[in-house]
C-alpha cells in the first residue's frame, strides 16, 4: 500500500515548524507505524535529505518513549479498536492511499526538541517531588510483613502500569498532566508502604505538576481515552480525594 504523510518538521526548539508532505510507497500492512517512518527515513537518507526525528526505543509498547499525534489522536488509532502506543499501531489500521497527519505532542511543558521529538523531563520532576516511598536499600522488612488485599493490590497495579509516555497531556484540551500524576498517587495510595507519605506526596506532586505549567483538569476524559495502558480515569478522583483529605493534615503545606 502507499500512503501520503503530512509530517511536522521543526529544526529545533527555537525555530518555526511546518507540515511537510511525503509519499511513502510499498508499505506493508504488517509494518508498525514506526517501521513505516523508518521506511520514509531510509528513503530520505538516500536522497540526502535529513530524516524525520522521532523518539522510540523498545518498540513493544512498554518503555513509553514513542508517541506522536496521528490524525489528531495521540498515538494514533486508525481502525484499531483499542488504544496502543505508536509502536504497536500497525499499518493495517489504515487504508491504502490514506493521507496521515503526524505531529508531535503539543503542550507547553513538553517543548519540541526537533520534528516529532519533545522534552518530557517535566514528568521526571513530578516523580522527584514525591512519587516514591522513602526506603533506603537494605532497610526493608520481610516482603510478607504487610499483607495487601487483592482488590487494593490490583488497583495499585492498574495505576502502576503507566508508562509515562505523555499521551494524556497531548490529548488533554487543557494540557493537564493529571492522569499521569494521579496514576502514581493511586499506585502508592493503595499500598501500605505508601501510607506514611501519602498526604505529603499528593501535595508535593500536585504543586510540582502546576509549577511545570500543566493545565488543570476539567474532567473531560480525553486522557483516559488515549492512554495505551488504560490507566483508569477514576485515579484522578482518587488524587482529588487524597488532596482534600491532605488539606486537613499537618504535613506539608
Amino acid at each position: 500500500m502507499n500512503v501520503t504523510l503530512r509530517v511536522w518538521r521543526q529544526a529545533n526548539a527555537q525555530s518555526e515548524g511546518r507540515m511537510v508532505t511525503y509519499q511513502v510507497q510499498d508499505v506493508s500492512p504488517d509494518m508498525s507505524f514506526l517501521e513505516m517512518l523508518d521506511l520514509l527515513n531510509e528513503d530520505l537518507t538516500v536522497k540526502g535529505e535529513e530524516p524525520v526525528a522521532f523518539d522510540h526505543d523498545c518498540r513493544e509498547g512498554i518503555c513509553g518513549m514513542c508517541g506522536v499525534v496521528i490524525n489528531g489522536t495521540a498515538h494514533g488509532r486508525g481502525s484499531s479498536p483499542v488504544p496502543t502506543t505508536t509502536c504497536q499501531l500497525h499499518m493495517r489500521s489504515f487504508e491504502d492511499g490514506a493521507v496521515i497527519d503526524v505531529e508531535p505532542w503539543r503542550a507547553g511543558p513538553f517543548p519540541v526538541i526537533k520534528d516529532l521529538v519533545v522534552d518530557r523531563s517535566a514528568f521526571d520532576r513530578i516523580i522527584q517531588a514525591g512519587g516514591y516511598v522513602s526506603v533506603n536499600t537494605g532497610s526493608a522488612p520481610d516482603a510478607h510483613a504487610n499483607a495487601v488485599g487483592k482488590q487494593k493490590a490490583d488497583r495499585a497495579f492498574d495505576a502502576a502500569t503507566c508508562i509515562g509516555c505523555g499521551a494524556c497531556v497531548a490529548a488533554c484540551p487543557n494540557s493537564s498532566g493529571m492522569l499521569f500524576t494521579a496514576a502514581k498517587i493511586t499506585h502508592l495510595a493503595m499500598l501500605p508502604q505508601g501510607q506514611p507519605e501519602r498526604h505529603l506526596r499528593v501535595k508535593k506532586m500536585l504543586a510540582q505538576h502546576d509549577a511545570e505549567g500543566f493545565g488543570g483538569c476539567t474532567n473531560i476524559g480525553e486522557c483516559a481515552e488515549v492512554c495505551p495502558k488504560q490507566i483508569p480515569f477514576d485515579t484522578i478522583s482518587q488524587l482529588n480525594r487524597d488532596l482534600i483529605a491532605s488539606l486537613f493534615k499537618r504535613d506539608g503545606k
Partner: protein, 676 residues
C-alpha cells in the same frame, strides 16, 4: 534428568581458530575470598575497606545506564551519600530496557514450602548456565535474591498477590519449585519503576545528578585507573568529559549486533566496547540467548522482534506440516496425521517444555528443512545464493481451548494473545500462533571479578553488561534478579573497598588523558560525517545482523564462522568507505547516533565470531555442529573448555588475546544435560 559426563578426547592441542587470536596468561584469581561458599559473601563484606560517611560526599561515582543494575546502583550509592553522576541515552531513566521483561524474578524465599533454598537456586542457575558460570558469583546472587523481593515490596512494587494478601509465586523456566515473583506480564516494568522512583528520590535529594539523552562514547583512563567518561549530548551534540573516582557501566546487552532482536532499538555495545578498547577484558562474547517464542519476522522492513512469555509452551503444542507442500495451507485444514509435533516426537519426556536452546534450534531445523510456515522472507545462504524461507512454526492452542475452553485460555494467556493479535492481525483463538526464535539476551559481557570490578581498577560492570552469572545460558526470571542484586546489594558493598583509597587526583578538562579521549570521540564523529557515501546506516546494520544470525546464531560451524569473519571485515571496510550519515554533530542527529553504534557492532561481531570459533563445544544456547552426540544433541567438552574466555583488545586490526579464567566447581558437581 542428568547423567555424569564422560571425558571426551576430541579436542586437539591447538585451540580451533588459532589464526585469529593469541593466547595470553591465565586469570589466576577472581578474588573471591577463601572458605566455604556460603560464607564467602559475608566474609568479603567484612573484609572490604569502608568509607567514612562524612567522606562519601567528596567522592564521585559515574554510573552509565539507568536500568535495574544502573538505576538501583545509582539510588543505593546516592543513599549511601556518594556524589553520583548517572547517564542514559533515553529521554528519561524510566525507559531503560529492563522495563520490557515480562515473566518474573526468582528469589529463594521458599514461601511455597517446596524445598527451595539458596543452594537450590544457586544449583539451578549454574546447571541452567550449562556449567559455564563462576560458582562464587552465582551463590552470592542466590543469597541476596530474597533481599531483593523485600526491597522491592517496600518500594511499592505491586507484585501479584493472593486473596490472603500475601505474594503469589509461580514456577518458571522449567524449574520444579515455585520461586518466581511476578507482576502480571510486566514484572520488569514494575521493578524498574521501583528503582526509578528510588533514583528520582535521590535526584531530588541532590545526591544523584541525572543526565538523560547523554550517550557515553569513551572511557577516560588515567594511570591505569578508570577515571571518567566522554559523552555526547544527544540534543545539542556537545562532547563533554566527566571525571570521577570510579566508573560503573550498567549498559545492558548487545543483542542488537544481530539487528533483529528483542532488545530496544537503542540498545548498543558502545559503552562496554569503548571500555574494552581501553583495556577491559570482554568475557564470553559469543554467549547469546535465543528465545524460542517470539513473533516471527514479517518482512524485510521489520525493525525488531517481540517476545512472548515462554509460559505459552505450558499449554500450546508446537508443530509444522509433515510435508513442505502443506506449508502455505490454512493450518486448520491440515489434518492431524499430516502434522509433525516435532518436539513431542524427538523429546517424548519433556515435549514442548524442553529448554529454550533446544526448542529454538529444532524450530530452525524444521524451517531449514523447508517445513516452516508463515510469510517467506529473503535470505542469503552460506553459498551466497538468495533464497526465500518461511521462518515460523505453529504454536497451537486448539487442544488447550478444547480442554480449558476459550475463557480458560484467556485467563492464563489473554494479554499475550491480545499482543499477538495486535502485532500480526491474526486471532490466535481461531488460528494457531506462529513463533520463531529470536535473540533475547547476551550472557557475555565485560569480564568482572568477584567484586564486579573489571580488570581496569575503578571500572565496575553490573547487570547484563557483565558476563558473570549466567554462564552459557540464562534461566528464565534470572536477569531481573541479577540486575537488582548487582545494583542494590553487591556493588554498593564492594565498590567502597576501592573508594576507600580515594579521592584520587582531581582531573580537569585540560588533563592530557581527558583531552585525548575527547579528541578521539570528536575524531570518530568527524570521520563518520566525512564519508558521505551512498548506503544508509541501517542497511549496513541489517547486513551485519544477517551475517551474525546466519553464522554465529543458533548453530555454528568452523567454516561458517570463518566465512562470517571475512564477511564482517569486508562489510566494515565498506561501511567506513560508503556510509551515508546525514546532518551534523551539533544537532539532534539520530543517524549519527546509530552510525557510531553500528561501527562498534562490527568490531564486537568479529570478536563474537572469534570466540565462537575457538570454543569448539556445544554448550548452553550454542550448538556447535562439530560437537554433537550421535543422535544430534549438544555435546559439551569440560576437558577443554571449562573456562571463561576473557578477551583483551590489542589494537585495531590486531589479534585479540585470549585469557582463560578456569572455572572451578567446589560446591557443585559437573553434569551433562540430557532431555531425551
Amino acid at each position: 534428568m542428568m547423567t555424569t559426563t564422560k571425558p571426551v578426547a576430541t579436542t586437539e592441542n591447538a585451540l580451533p581458530g588459532a589464526d585469529y587470536f593469541t593466547l595470553g596468561a591465565e586469570i589466576a584469581d577472581a578474588k573471591a575470598p577463601a572458605g566455604p561458599i556460603e560464607q564467602k559473601w559475608s566474609k568479603r563484606q567484612f573484609e572490604a575497606k569502608l568509607v567514612n560517611p562524612a567522606n562519601r560526599r567528596k567522592l564521585t561515582v559515574i554510573i552509565v545506564g539507568t536500568g535495574l543494575a544502573g538505576g538501583a546502583a545509582a539510588a543505593s550509592l546516592g543513599e549511601a551519600g556518594y556524589n553520583v553522576l548517572n547517564f542514559c541515552y533515553q529521554d528519561s531513566p524510566r525507559r531503560a530496557h529492563s522495563i520490557a521483561a515480562q515473566g518474573g524474578i526468582n528469589a529463594a524465599k521458599n514461601y511455597r514450602n517446596d524445598n527451595d533454598s539458596t543452594y537450590r537456586l544457586f544449583y539451578d542457575t549454574v546447571k541452567g548456565g550449562d556449567y559455564r558460570a563462576r560458582e562464587t558469583n552465582v551463590y552470592r546472587l542466590a543469597e541476596v535474591s530474597a533481599n531483593i523481593i523485600d526491597q522491592c515490596v517496600a518500594q511499592g512494587v505491586p507484585f501479584a498477590r493472593e486473596y490472603g494478601g500475601l505474594l503469589d509465586n509461580r514456577s518458571f523456566g522449567g524449574v520444579q519449585v515455585q520461586r518466581t515473583f511476578y507482576a502480571r506480564g510486566q514484572t520488569g516494568q514494575q521493578l524498574l519503576i521501583g528503582a526509578y522512583q528510588a533514583l528520582e528520590r535521590q535526584v531530588a535529594a541532590g545526591t544523584v545528578k541525572m543526565y538523560a539523552r547523554h550517550e557515553m562514547l569513551e572511557l577516560i583512563v588515567v594511570d591505569g585507573r578508570a577515571r571518567g567518561i566522554v559523552t555526547r549530548d544527544m540534543v545539542t551534540g556537545e562532547i563533554e568529559s566527566w571525571t570521577a573516582d570510579a566508573v560503573v557501566l550498567a549498559t545492558g546487552g548487545y543483542g542488537n549486533v544481530f539487528f533483529l532482536s528483542t532488545n530496544a532499538m537503542g540498545c548498543n555495545v558502545t559503552a562496554t566496547w569503548r571500555a574494552h578498547r581501553k583495556g577491559a577484558y570482554f568475557g564470553n562474547p559469543c554467549y547469546t540467548q535465543i528465545h524460542p517464542t517470539c513473533i516471527p519476522v514479517h518482512g524485510e522492513t521489520q525493525s525488531k522482534l517481540t517476545l512472548m512469555s515462554e509460559s505459552l509452551r505450558n499449554d500450546g503444542r508446537i508443530w509444522v506440516p509433515k510435508r513442505a507442500e502443506d506449508c502455505d495451507k490454512d493450518p486448520r485444514q491440515i489434518p492431524e496425521e499430516d502434522r509433525d509435533y516435532y518436539l513431542e516426537r524427538i523429546y517424548p519426556a519433556f515435549g514442548n517444555l524442553v529448554p529454550r536452546d533446544i526448542a529454538s534450534r529444532q524450530a530452525k531445523n524444521m524451517c531449514d528443512e523447508g517445513r516452516g510456515v508463515g510469510p517467506a522472507v529473503r535470505e542469503i545462504d552460506h553459498d551466497g545464493n538468495e533464497r526465500m524461507v518461511r521462518r515460523g512454526v505453529y504454536l497451537d492452542f486448539a487442544e488447550a481451548i478444547g480442554r480449558l475452553g476459550a475463557d480458560g485460555v484467556a485467563a492464563r494467556y489473554g494479554n499475550l494473545f491480545d499482543m499477538y493479535a495486535q502485532i500480526t492481525g491474526e486471532n490466535p483463538y481461531e488460528t494457531p500462533m506462529r513463533i520463531y526464535p529470536a535473540v533475547h539476551y547476551t550472557m557475555g559481557g565485560l569480564w568482572v571479578d568477584y567484586d564486579l570490578s573489571s580488570n581496569i581498577p575503578g571500572l565496575y560492570v553490573t547487570g547484563e553488561a557483565n558476563f558473570s552469572d549466567h554462564g552459557a545460558n540464562r534461566l528464565g526470571a534470572s536477569a531481573l534478579m541479577q540486575g537488582l542484586a548487582d545494583g542494590y546489594f553487591v556493588l554498593p558493598n564492594t565498590i567502597n573497598d576501592y573508594l576507600a583509597a580515594a579521592p584520587y587526583e582531581k582531573l580537569d578538562a585540560t588533563h592530557p588523558a581527558v583531552r585525548e579521549a575527547v579528541d578521539e570521540v570528536k575524531g570518530r564523529i568527524e570521520k563518520l560525517l566525512a564519508v558521505q557515501g551512498t548506503r544508509t546506516v541501517d542497511s549496513f546494520h541489517k547486513e551485519l545482523g544477517h551475517i551474525m544470525w546466519e553464522y554465529c546464531g543458533m548453530e555454528r560451524t568452523e567454516a561458517g564462522l570463518q566465512t562470517a569473519i571475512g564477511k564482517i571485515d569486508e562489510l566494515q571496510k565498506e561501511f567506513w568507505a560508503n556510509v551515508k550519515v546525514t546532518g551534523m554533530n551539533e544537532d539532534f542527529n539520530q543517524t549519527l547516533e546509530r552510525a557510531g553504534r553500528v561501527a562498534d557492532f562490527f568490531e564486537l561481531g568479529r570478536l563474537m565470531c572469534v570466540d565462537a570459533l575457538h570454543r569448539r563445544e556445544s554448550c548452553g544456547g550454542h550448538f556447535r555442529a562439530e560437537s554433537q552426540t550421535e543422535d544430534g544433541e549438544a555435546l559439551r567438552h569440560d576437558d577443554a573448555f571449562l573456562y571463561v574466555g576473557a578477551w583483551e583488545f590489542t589494537g585495531t586490526g590486531e589479534k585479540p588475546v585470549l585469557h582463560k579464567e578456569p572455572l572451578v566447581y567446589e560446591a557443585i558437581e559437573l553434569k551433562q544435560r540430557s532431555y531425551k
